[in-house]
Symmetry: C2
Subunit: 298 residues, 2 copies
Amino acid sequence: MALHFTQVTIIGVGLIGGSLGMILRRKGLATRIVGVGRRVENLKTAVELGAIDRYVIDPKEGVRDADLVVLATPVDTYERHLTDWASCLKPGAIVTDVGSVKGLLVEQAERAMPAGVHFVGAHPIAGKEKTGVAAGSDQLFMGARCIITPTKTTDQQALEQVRRMWQETGSVVLTMDAHLHDKILGAVSHLPHVAAFALINALAEIRDQQLPSLDLANHSGGGLRDTTRIAASSPEMWRDIFLWNRDNVVTFIEAYERSLGLLKQLIRAGDAAGIEKELERARQEREKLSTRPALTAQ
Amino acid sequence: MALHFTQVTIIGVGLIGGSLGMILRRKGLATRIVGVGRRVENLKTAVELGAIDRYVIDPKEGVRDADLVVLATPVDTYERHLTDWASCLKPGAIVTDVGSVKGLLVEQAERAMPAGVHFVGAHPIAGKEKTGVAAGSDQLFMGARCIITPTKTTDQQALEQVRRMWQETGSVVLTMDAHLHDKILGAVSHLPHVAAFALINALAEIRDQQLPSLDLANHSGGGLRDTTRIAASSPEMWRDIFLWNRDNVVTFIEAYERSLGLLKQLIRAGDAAGIEKELERARQEREKLSTRPALTAQ
C-alpha cells in the first residue's frame, strides 16, 4: 500500500521540519500539511516556500486531526510540548521526532503518549550550519542517514510508516538502539563539536590574553577553517544536545583530554619518537575515514 | 633588473621544493636547477616532472656553485645539513628555507653561515595532506601566503631576491619577525593540528575501550571529517614542527585544555545558560573567519 497521510502536523517548521514538509508535499504523501510554530513570520515563509499548506499557532489545534505529528523543535522543549498537547492526539496517531539525542528523550516521549498513540524516535543526520526553513530543501536528506530508534514497545506499523517516510526523502534509513545512538553520535558528532567550539574559544583567549597581534581572520588558513567549521553551528541546538547527552559527552571529553594531555606531555618532553607514534596512529585512523565518501553533512 | 639565478640548488625535492623548482624552470628564473636528496628514485621523478634539471646525491657538490640554496628538508635536519655543507658555499650565495617554524631555526641558520653568505628565512604556507614531488604543481603557491622572516642582520639584497622569487610563484609575500611568526602559526596552524590529531586518537580510544560497535568510517559525517582532515598530515613533518615550536605549542595546548575543561564543567553541571554563552562566543568568532576567503591551504 502506498504511504499516505491525511494530515501531517509539523511542530517547528525550521530547516529539518520545513525540508521534510517540502518533500511530503512535492511527493503527495499527505493530503494536508499543517505547520505549528511561535513565529508567524516564519510560518508565512514556510507556506510561501511550499513547506506547509497552512499553519496554526496553537499546537493543540494543530495536532488534533493529525495522523502523523513530527516534533521538530529543540529537544529541550519536548517535555513541555508533549505535556501540552499529547492528550489531544487522536487514537492511532503517530508521533515522531527529528532530535539529535534519543535515549532519555525517547523514553520520555513514550511515557507521554496516551493509549493508542504511538511514538517512534528518529534522527535524520542532515543538519548544516544554516538554520531556518529558508535554508530548507527537498534535497536536504538525499543520501544522508536517518537513524530510527525503536524500543521494545514500539508499534510495528507505526515504525514501518516512519521508516517509509524517511526512505521517501532519499535518506539511508537505519535502525539502532536509542542509547547506543547517543553513544555513537556522542563520539562521532557531539565530541567533534565540543572540540571545535572549544578550539575557537581557546584561540580567542590566546589572542586576547597573549597575542594581541593575532588576527584570526587574516592569519588563518584552510586547516583552521575546516577544523572549526562546525563551531558556527546553532548555539541553542548544541546546548540542548550537550545537555541531553551529558553523560556520554562528558565521558568522551575526558577521553579527548587524555589524548590531548598525552600529546602535550610528549611535546613538552621533546619525545620525538613518542610524538611521531601518536601522529602516525592518528594519520592511519584518519586515512580510514577517507576511503568512504561522507554520507552526511553533519 | 630581472630576477635571475645561474644555479639554484634545492635540498629536499618534495612537495614544496619540487613545486618551487617547477616554477623557477617554467619561468626561466634560473639557468640550471640542481636537486639534492637521498632517494634517487625521487630525484629521477623530479627530473621527469620538470622540477629540477639534474640531481646529485652529495649536498657539498650540489651547493658549491649555487647562487641560491633552498633548504626544503624537515626542519629537524637543518643543523645537520648546515654543518655538513655551509662551508662549501661560495661568497655571495644566498641560503633560504621553507620551514614551518622559524624563530630558533633562523637564529641557528644565521650562525651557521660563513662570511659573505646570506641566510633569509621563509615559510610558504602552502602545504597539503599529500607530500612528495609527484603531488607538486607550479600552481601550488598561487594566492597562498609566504612569510619571510628577516632579522636585524639580514642582508637587504638577499632579502629582496628571496622576496621577488616568492612573488614570482604567485604568493602573497609578507614579512614578519621570526618569533612572532612562530607564535601566530602556533596558534592558527599548530594548535589546530594538535587538536585534530588528538581528536582522532581519542575516538580510536573510545572505540577500543568503550564502544566496540563504533565504526568510525561508517558512522562519521562531514563534521568529523572536516574537523580531523589535517590529522592525515605527515607525522614526520608535524613531529618536527611541534618540537621546534615546543614552548608556544605547549602554552597554546594549555589554553585549549582550559576552554575544553570549562565547557566540560558547564555540561557536567547542566548549566544551560553557561553552555550557550560559550557556544555563542565560539559561533561569533568563527563567523568572523567566514567573512574572508581562505588565503592558504594549510
